[in-house]
Amino acid sequence: MSVPLSRVDYAIIEHYVPQGARVLDVGCEDGNLLAFLEQKKAIDGRGLELSQANVNAAVARGLSVIQGDADTDLSTYPDGAFDVVILSQTLQATQAPRKVLEELLRIGKRVIVAIPNFGHWKARLHLLLRGEMPVTKSLPYSWYDTPNIHFCTLRDFVHLTEAVGATIEDSAALNAQGQRVALHAPWALWNLVGAQGIFVLRPGNGPDAQATS
């Protein structure tokens, strides 16, 4: 349903997944990221995926993946069940993104969210000049057949993390080529040139939430 994760995404995610961690990849597609993390970090990985074809492919790779829906199935996991929960390119396709994010923060000690940026300059330009909903490389669908029903900009997502009381441990914006936008660039620039964003979150905003591994 989305653009494939770039190597930069993988590197960022890898950095925040401790060795041997218990990881849930929500919207894991055919399990590429899980397989990558099993190889690199010897994780105890699980996947949740909407498409049955993808699930079957992932299980055929020996991964523990179940068919399910982020909107309904996250509630079946207990609190703090995973060291890391990853939601990659999926939040915008959920019915209730806030509820989903809250569930992720409930079941994961650390949550990594990657989202396409609706505030990317190409998307803005598309709407501004052509008066049409944007169709770009990272937003490849027309409005009438897109699975992406809740778009936000990177800026919007930051507001959501504040609303649910999460702490942003790290964040990065990737440009359309999948390269990391300069770390110290101001937010307004990120929001403009970032085709997608990656956020590393921790539940709550107390001092413990600031700790990194």
Partner: protein
């Protein structure tokens, strides 16, 4: 292993049962009743490795038996899971040691209602105590002990076999590395109990059933059992598959007969299914085994929550269902998966797209084979098993 002859358990006299383990110690059943002596008939395929780590227990369904592969001694046909078990098959007899036992209550060599009471020598009939899925698994555990296997690489089965898989994983989690419950449920549904009751009533309505004493009285309730099988067989198939296979086609005729002969191919097919079934199955066993399924409810045995049955489990699960199975629908498997999620068990869940209904688990379904093969191979790697 000393084969124990017990001709009365088999409709057509003595047949080889593979091996038979005689359990000499009393076995207390879930009902509280005790079997003073009992037997468990089984077959094995492949070779147990030196470390005894490559054993896979296959649990059969309601009307299955220990002849999972190879020629069946009564029907002369191939084993019931020939597609799944064999050299190079997903359950590969070249690398694994496959065990399949006739369930307690069955009629092909394991102790059941057709066995003689060890003290009186008379056939149990309805004096045989009710057995449960847990009792079946307890007997299998004795067999696994007898074979000197501490930990099973996998326990695999569909339908009633899947219930046994779940019971194994719940009761002996440390002895089951991987569990593959297929087309099954953590509890038998009301609708399924209803279908079973219809089948049992058909058997009991047959005058030759003789209140279960037909063996002593020299009769056989074949008509009742055949009707039970016909009804059950419909539940094993999907509407689409039936229509694709038979439609409204007529059997050996060009026009309807305005009578009650088998005008339609589906009628003829069902009658054939019923008639061949009675040649290989015992009516009282059918009553006992359907009852065992009806009583199965993992949640009820664990404070109302299926998840409790699998608390802290380290067993890896691969749950498999079929899109057109309306007897054990995907929703049942999904409920099981959610319960396993609640324990953060390692679980995979595959729903195979097929129009062939509940019986799909016995058929040539490439996605089923691919899932079992891949899942097992990852378990073999994780467990460090060598052939």
């Amino acid at each position: 292993m000393q084969p124990t002859e017990n001709p009365s358990t088999v409709p057509h006299g003595a047949v080889p049962h593979g091996a038979v383990l005689e359990v000499r110690e009393p076995v207390t059943l879930q009902s509280g009743e005790t079997l003073q002596r009992s037997h468990i008939a089984y077959t094995t395929h492949g070779t147990l490795n030196a470390a005894r780590t490559n054993a896979i227990l296959v649990c059969h369904a309601l009307t299955g038996d220990q002849y999972v592969t190879g020629r069946h001694p009564i029907t002369g046909k191939a084993g019931w899971w020939e597609t799944m078990v064999g050299p190079g098959a997903p359950l590969d007899t070249d690398t694994h040691f496959i065990i399949c036992a006739n369930v307690l209550g069955g009629c092909l060599g394991s102790t059941g209602p057709g066995s003689p009471h060890p003290e009186t020598g008379e056939v149990y009939g309805l004096n045989f105590p009710l057995v449960t899925i847990a009792d079946m698994v307890d007997m299998q555990r004795r067999l696994v002990d007898h074979l000197g296997i501490e930990r099973l690489l996998a326990v695999v089965g569909g339908s009633m076999g899947g219930m046994q898989v779940l019971q194994w994983a719940a009761r002996y989690p440390e002895r089951v590395a991987a569990a593959i419950p297929i087309a099954t449920s953590a509890r038998h549904s009301s609708q399924n109990i209803a279908f079973h009751e219809v089948g049992r009533q058909a058997v009991m309505a047959d005058p030759d059933w003789r209140s279960g004493r037909y063996m002593a009285e020299g009769t056989r309730p074949t008509k009742g059992l055949a009707v039970a099988r016909m009804g059950a067989h419909i539940t094993y198939m999907s509407d689409d598959a039936l229509h694709r296979k038979f439609g409204r086609s007529l059997q050996d005729k060009n026009a309807i007969s305005f009578g009650f002969d088998a005008d339609f191919q589906i009628e003829s097919y069902l009658r054939h299914q019923g008639m061949t079934f009675v040649d290989r199955f015992d009516a009282n066993s059918y009553l006992y085994l359907t009852r065992a399924m009806d009583y199965f409810d993992l949640a009820a045995d664990h404070d109302g929550k299926v998840a409790n049955a699998f608390a802290d489990t380290r067993t890896r699960f691969c749950v498999i269902s079929f899109t057109s199975d309306w007897l054990f629908p995907t929703s049942e498997s999904r409920a099981l998966v959610h319960a396993l999620n609640a324990t953060t068990a390692k679980v995979s869940f595959v729903e195979v797209e097929t129009d062939r209904g509940h019986d799909s688990f016995l058929l040539d379904e490439p996605e089923l084979f691919a899932a079992v093969r891949a899942f097992l191979s990852s378990v073999v790697t994780l467990e460090g098993v060598s052939p």
